[in-house]
């Protein structure tokens, strides 16, 4: 059986937190990449945007999102490299709760622009403060992706935040 879904590397944020979670020297041997992320930041709020950078660039991104908070629902576009949301440490009912995010990167070593599909869930143990969403993100650069950085701009990722990078092969 072909080895079509393989862990490349993982990151767990240690005590004291971290400014980002970064994967470097990504092998150029797979077809697609999948990130599975659980995250939380030190922001004194309910949730915060999860941003991605490819090859240390946050330029040439565009994002289309369909999100829901409680009974509210909205869609938006942005040039920010958003791929989901993370839990924050503010408010009540957020103890020990981390976001759940899948980020799928298609044809990451191809010479075309890079398409990303992501879904994201933030929950809290009280009324309100949740957010979930579906994201379609484009990186309008042709370079193969060799480095991926996950950040919550301006904030620190909390201990026990995790990111797992998988390589997906079509052969």
């Amino acid at each position: 059986m072909a080895n079509t879904y393989k862990l490349i590397s993982s990151i767990t944020v240690g005590s004291g937190g971290a400014s980002d979670m970064e994967f470097t020297n990504i092998p150029q041997t797979y077809t697609d990449l999948l990130l599975k992320v659980t995250g939380r930041t030190n922001k004194g709020d309910l949730y915060n945007d999860l941003s991605i950078r490819f090859n240390n660039s946050s330029s040439d991104f565009s994002t289309l999102a369909f999100v829901s908070t409680g009974s509210g629902k909205s869609t938006f576009t942005t040039t920010s490299p958003y791929v989901g949301s993370l839990n924050d440490t503010g408010g009540t009912g957020g103890d020990n709760i981390f976001s759940s995010n899948d980020i799928y990167i298609f044809n990451y070593r191809g010479s075309n622009f890079k398409s990303v599909s992501a879904d994201s869930a933030v929950e809290r143990n009280n009324t309100g403060g949740d957010e979930k969403g579906l994201y379609s993100t484009l990186w309008s650069q042709n370079a193969a992706i060799t480095t991926i950085t996950l950040v919550s701009v301006g904030y620190t990722l909390s201990q026990y935040s995790t990111a797992y990078l998988y390589g997906i092969s079509n052969a």
Partner: protein, 183 residues
Amino acid sequence: MSPILGTLASQFSGKPFGSFESIATVTVGAGGSSSVSFTSIPSTYTHLQIRCLAKDTTAGSTFQNFKMTINGNTMTRRHFLFADGASVAAGSSTTNLAIGNIPAAGFTSIFGAVIIDILDYANTNKNKTIRSLGGTDANGSGELAFYSALYAVNTNAITNLSFSADSNLAQYTQIALYGIKGA
């Protein structure tokens, strides 16, 4: 109606299948079943994914709740984002803790697809946040739903999952449990 217990796919252990492995799969037999359960889920993976093709035995052409319990407990709360081709809705509940929508018996031969992700399911530092994406096209009608849910009863590792419907799970409902390695 008797529940069905999943059998672990132990025959796969130790073989180099990459990071995504089948743990167990259950197909509901003739007469349907009140529930499908997976017990003694090993803590040797990092994430779980459950892929479901399911149907409820409730009469009529409606869409019914597809429910999940964790370690014998209901989830704490859940939110949904929903579309049916004509409208979009969002909301939350602490009582109706469905994690998907599946067609009733009136939709002959049509099953609903639901994929559920549970990350860090064995991490005892975390309550568990669950994501679910599902849909049914019933040839002229249908539903799409994105659910998120919280299991905050405790931070114990998840060792048991059970699935049910408003009535019974219909024959040919198939629920497959996968483990995803993180080391």
